[in-house]
């Protein structure tokens, strides 16, 4: 009995510590986003803002007037909103294409007997471990030759490459759980392999496909190395790249508040996705790597 109480107390303490550890940095950038430029320039090491202001949000999103009466700098919001559009566009297209290709491949791996199956899985494993930076030089060169440098497809193609392994694993694991008798029943009823795939399996596999899509989206939304190497203007620069290059007018006094605000804005979609689909994300992350 005593050890049970101890375990329970330990779990409760652990629970609180985990929440604090995971959420404190998020709370910190939220707090920082409400600190005015004057406050951070003077140095403000206390956690909460002394004089909360919406100025940073007005500047970053390009709306309204600042509390000091000036209009927000339009260059800041133009660049940020353009980067946000690039990030969404590139991540969504890469996710869509990657998941379609991975679905086809995972179906074949989970269901069909064909030569080279092990080779495909080995390639996927190798790609998952590939040092992305190694590609920066040759890709930089190749993309300039093919006029893909500083374009959306120039990022979408490598994002597909590096998300395919995770998508293939996740989907293969999901596809193995599907009741295959239904496919056989369809085939007995005269459907071809392809028809059985399209009409019976796709609806059953939809939840798995959706999970793979979330994980793929997270990767593309987060990617940084290629985003700074294969783009040169705001025309195709994504949010992580834009944030890292944004130093403001005074390099010795970075715009803490604006950077924190932009960080909060790009974290909101992640928090929404996590809140809605946490169960699916956990299932997807663990299914690929550990058999269950």
């Amino acid at each position: 009995m005593q050890s049970d109480t101890k375990t329970k107390a330990g779990t409760a303490v652990g629970f609180v510590l985990i929440l604090v550890w995971c959420l404190l940095p998020v709370a910190w950038i939220i707090s920082l986003s409400f600190k005015g430029a004057a406050e951070t320039a003077a140095g403000s090491p206390q956690f909460l803002p002394k004089d909360p202001t919406l100025d940073n949000y007005k500047t970053v999103l390009g709306v309204g007037n600042l509390s000091s009466g000036d209009a927000p700098d339009p260059a800041v919001s133009d660049d940020f909103l353009r980067a946000l559009l690039n990030s969404f566009g590139i991540a969504l297209v890469a996710t869509l294409l990657s998941v379609v290709f991975a679905t086809l491949a995972a179906y074949a791996i989970a269901r069909l007997e064909f030569r080279g199956k092990r080779l495909v899985l080995s390639i996927a494993l190798a790609i998952a471990m590939f040092p992305v930076v190694s590609l920066v030089g040759p890709l930089f060169d190749m993309w300039r030759t093919f006029h893909l440098f500083n374009t959306w497809p120039g990022l979408i193609i490598p994002y597909m490459t590096f998300t395919l392994p995770l998508a293939i694993w996740t989907l293969t694991a999901f596809f193995r759980e599907i009741p295959w008798e239904m496919e056989q029943a369809a085939q007995v009823d005269g459907a071809t392999s392809w028809q059985a795939f399209r009409k019976v399996i796709v609806p059953l596999a939809a939840p798995g496909v959706f999970t793979a899509a979330i994980l793929t989206f997270f990767f593309a939304w987060n990617e940084f190395v290629l985003a700074i190497s294969l783009t040169s203007t705001t025309g195709s620069r994504t949010v992580p790249a834009q944030l890292s290059f944004f130093v403001g007018p005074d390099p010795f006094n970075p715009p803490y508040g604006q950077l924190a605000t932009a960080s909060v804005v790009v974290t909101v979609p992640i928090i929404v996705i996590v809140l809605l689909f946490q169960r699916k994300i956990v299932a997807g992350l663990t299914s690929g790597a550990v058999k269950g």
């Binding site: 899985l121 080995s122 930076v133 946490q278």
Partner: protein, 312 residues
């Protein structure tokens, strides 16, 4: 469906025609994925191998000149390369070791918690989903001399005062970088460990308890050995991921105070210095290091790769 259906789906009596058709369909279905995976990796790596044999600057493309292995010689003879390799390995070893411990504690708590499971899952997934650059900024501002709260909160610790400049010296800067890396990637580790933990049979733990094993003994003799495979896969993935560390260093120090990593050095040579020949040599070396590292971890810890590949 009907109880007579064969669950494995492997029909033994299959005409060779049907098998050939299945083989063709299989290849057709995996082809697009394989092509996309190789087009951006295999071909550029061959390109890098070729370019690494030349003295080639993008700013002076006409002076491209074959130099054999000279680029490799100058890289391997440079102390900066070794300093960066050491930094990278150190970050890898420390972060993976710390994450293994914290991640296991996370997994234990998540496994035991019976209330508010959704809350803890959400909390853990936020660092996982957050952009690494954002994590780097959050921690950079946390450790910032003028605007960070670390100095005021932890001034009671020896060595920390209100004017501790975390990014002014090698070790404190490395520490800050590692904290950000650990914060961002522990969730991934803990979820893999949680999956392993849930596979350990409760009966076995209960039996050990009845036999009088202490909590510590149960942990080391029953729980950990039974989730070995999950631990090894988690270590393999996280170690290789940590070895490629780039984003945190780029944002937090830009490599100042000798905090540069191998990935950062390669990036800097290619994109900032336009040294495509030398940079390609670094790319090839980085690729070989990852290969060697993956091979060593798999051999050293006898990781079950079939499991890592998702083959049941």
């Amino acid at each position: 469906m009907s109880a007579t259906a064969v669950p494995t789906g492997k029909t033994t009596a299959r005409t060779s025609d049907r098998a050939a058709g299945e083989n063709r369909l299989g290849l057709k279905l995996v082809a697009p994925a394989v092509v996309v995976m190789l087009i951006v990796t295999a071909w550029p790596m061959i390109q890098a191998l070729y370019l690494s044999l030349f003295q080639y600057r993008l700013t002076a493309p006409d002076e491209k000149e074959f130099v054999g292995l000279a680029n490799y010689a100058s890289v391997l003879g440079d102390s900066l390369f070794w300093q960066d390799t050491f930094n990278t390995l150190l970050i890898m070893v420390v972060t993976v070791a710390v994450e293994l411990v914290i991640g296991f504690v996370f997994a234990m708590v998540m496994h035991r918690v019976i209330f508010a499971r959704g809350v803890i899952r959400t909390a853990i997934l936020i660092p996982y989903g957050i952009i690494t650059v954002v994590s780097a900024f959050a921690w950079q501002f946390t450790f910032s001399l003028s605007n960070g709260w670390v100095n005021s909160w932890f001034a009671w610790l020896p060595g920390i005062s209100s004017d501790t400049n975390w990014f002014g010296d090698h070790w404190p800067a490395m520490f800050a970088i590692m904290v950000s890396e650990i914060w961002k990637t522990t969730p991934f580790m803990s979820l893999l460990l949680l999956a392993g933990l849930s596979q350990v049979s409760e009966d076995m733990i209960e039996a050990a308890k009845v036999d009088g094993a202490t909590w510590w003994q149960r942990l080391w003799k029953v729980i950990l050995p039974n989730m070995r495979a999950a631990i090894m896969v988690a270590v393999l993935f996280r170690a290789l991921d940590a070895f490629r560390i780039f984003d945190n260093i780029f944002v937090m120090t830009r490599g100042a105070q000798d905090t540069e990593s191998s990935s950062f050095l390669t990036y800097r040579q290619v994109i900032e210095q336009f040294q495509l020949g030398l940079g390609s040599a670094l790319s090839v070396l980085l690729f070989l290091s990852v290969l060697l590292l993956a091979f060593s971890i798999v051999k050293l810890f006898r990781v079950d790769l079939a499991q890592a590949r998702g083959e049941g």
